[in-house]
């Protein structure tokens, strides 16, 4: 207990710093939000055309989604992916390596991994307070208020509870993947390309570009990848499209992924610091 308290005292300032640095770019957050929503707006026209052209018309159910559900899925998905896109552990590691500051940080009595994790958790917490909670309340308020999402109060509270659990797990997975990409930067400095591949995987396997239900059997396989926890699983959970026994299984799978990725990160870091060369001056 004492050591947890001691660790929190040591690392919470990093979380606060993460929050402050995110707050410094308020205009940028607002701009990214606008970009995300214009993007979803245009994607919805494509979905509208698809439903309009399906044999059953606008009231069709395609791959388990009515048009209204698809609208809600896309909006929630873009909101959630927006938050998962913030925080930049990979970029921070890249900067550490490029500027040689990695040498300084390694000499300090703080864990390199935990330093980055807490910085990211600060950013994530702020994004939840500023983006997810207010926007989610408005979106789901409208959908439930107008009867577009039919769900009882008790079931919705339970869905929100599991959504929050998945959000925390998603935060840990997201940062673990970011750190993994950061470890790759020790071997190649092309962060832009690596990040692009990561974003594509995250969008595609996470069901941001299209729900995994559209991918048939492959979609079921993809729903167990770590990327699914960065979008598809939390979004479907809050929409009430995942049954509770599956939710419990998903929670264990998410925990297993965190363990596996962190283990890989640990091994990669041990290898990376053996070969790192920093310019003297």
């Amino acid at each position: 207990m004492k050591s947890i308290k001691k660790n929190l005292r040591l690392y919470l300032p990093f979380a606060r710093a993460g929050m402050k640095s995110e707050l410094a770019y308020k205009a940028q957050i607002a701009m990214w939000m606008i970009i995300s929503f214009v993007e979803v707006f245009f994607v919805l026209f494509l979905y509208e055309a698809i439903y309009r052209n399906s044999p059953g018309g606008m009231s069709s159910v395609i791959n388990g989604f009515t048009f209204t559900e698809m609208v809600l899925y896309m909006i929630t998905s873009f909101m959630f992916s927006f938050v998962m896109g913030s925080g930049d552990t990979a970029y921070n590691i890249y900067t550490d390596i490029k500027e040689g500051t990695v040498a300084n940080t390694l000499t300090k009595p703080v864990s390199y991994r935990l330093r980055h994790l807490f910085t990211y958790l600060g950013v994530l917490a702020l994004d939840y307070v500023v983006v997810v909670i207010p926007l989610g309340t408005v979106i789901y308020g409208i959908f439930i208020g107008f009867g577009l999402l039919k769900v009882s109060a008790g079931a919705f509270i339970l869905n929100v509870f599991f959504f929050l659990i998945f959000s925390i797990l998603a935060g840990f997975i997201n940062d673990a993947i970011g750190y993994f990409v950061g470890m790759l930067v020790f071997h190649t400095d092309h962060l832009f390309g690596l990040n692009m591949m990561r974003n594509t995987l995250q969008s595609f396997l996470g069901g941001k570009m299209i729900p995994l239900a559209y991918m048939g059997a492959l979609g079921i396989v993809f729903s167990y990848t770590p990327f699914a926890f960065l979008n598809s699983v939390p979004v479907l959970t809050i929409m009430g499209k995942v049954d509770y026994s599956t939710i419990i299984i998903y929670i264990f799978i998410a925990l297993a992924w965190i363990f596996v990725i962190e283990l890989a990160n640990h091994l990669m870091f041990k290898r990376a610091i053996k070969q790192i060369t920093v310019q003297g001056g």
């Binding site: 940028q28 701009m31 990214w32 606008i34 970009i35 214009v38 993007e39 245009f42 026209f45 494509l46 979905y47 509208e48 055309a49 698809i50 052209n53 399906s54 044999p55 395609i62 791959n63 190649t188 400095d189 092309h190 832009f192 390309g193 690596l194 692009m196 591949m197 974003n199 594509t200 969008s203 595609f204 570009m209 299209i210 559209y214 991918m215």
Partner: protein, 263 residues
């Protein structure tokens, strides 16, 4: 002629410096190819869930996807440095040296970067145009194909001009990268038939940002040829020229506001 010679020298230097880090070039190309393949698979999964979209078959939509990707790829290949101008160079005052040379700054910005990663987009575009082109029945003849080629070139110029316009705002506001990201997204919306959008967006993509005019109309012309293709070609050229001139004019005004960083 002098500018062409200079451009080739700049471009050669850019390619040589990039090829020093071959692994990075390969990662970049694969990353872009990967991203585009993912959006193509997405499009396929979506469109294949219905018989057709507003009368367009999956191959026809794939062909349009290829046309847009080709225009985006050409722009990406030739004008990629505008991104760093919009995001960092003005803000960090890293453009001073460009102002000291006896050449237009815009020319130097464009000529000094040939982005090989764009081949990821171009390779996929060629594949899409070939595969989908073989599976659709065109009515138009060689003239229609030339119109499509002209459309791709005009669309590439429009995308680049739009980037020039938005990047130039950085001279006044120090950073215009996020805004550039926003407007760049418009190029992606012409990957789908214009008809799926409401009238207001269709008009926006035809009259304001004439990407729809240059990509969708020549595409349509392949299936139902227009009566006066020359008129369509002239309209595309004039719209592109006008759009590029306006963007160039705004760049020339904005650049006067450039301030170097103090010490």
């Amino acid at each position: 002629m002098r500018y062409l010679r200079l451009y080739l020298t700049y471009a050669k230097l850019s390619v040589m410096s990039k090829l020093v880090y071959k692994a990075n070039v390969i990662i970049g190309i694969i990353a872009f190819l990967f991203g585009e393949v993912a959006s193509l698979v997405t499009l396929y999964l979506l469109v294949s869930s219905v018989p057709s979209i507003d009368g367009y078959s999956i191959y026809e939509i794939g062909f349009l996807f290829g046309l847009t990707n080709m225009a985006v790829g050409i722009d990406h290949l030739l004008t990629d440095r505008l991104w760093t101008v919009a995001y960092f160079e003005v803000k960090l005052g890293k453009m001073d040296h460009l102002f000291l040379r006896p050449l237009p700054v815009l020319f130097q910005v464009i000529a000094s970067e040939v982005q090989l990663e764009a081949f990821g987009e171009i390779i996929l575009a060629v594949a899409m145009l070939t595969v989908c082109g073989l599976n659709v029945s065109f009515i138009g003849g060689i003239g229609s194909i030339l119109l499509v080629v002209l459309g791709i070139l005009c669309a590439a110029v429009i995308i680049s001009s739009f980037k020039i316009l938005v990047a130039s705002l950085a001279f006044k506001f120090k950073r215009s990268g996020p805004l550039l990201q926003f407007v760049y997204g418009f190029s992606g919306y012409t990957k789908y038939p214009l008809k799926i959008y409401p009238k207001i967006i269709q008009n926006l993509l035809i009259f304001v940002i004439p990407l729809g005019l240059c990509l969708f109309f020549p595409f349509e012309n392949l299936f139902s040829p227009v009566e006066h293709p020359i008129l369509l070609a002239v309209s595309m050229l004039l719209a592109t020229l006008f759009f590029a001139s306006v963007c160039g004019f705004i760049w020339s005004r904005m650049i006067r506001k450039y301030e170097s960083t103090g010490t």
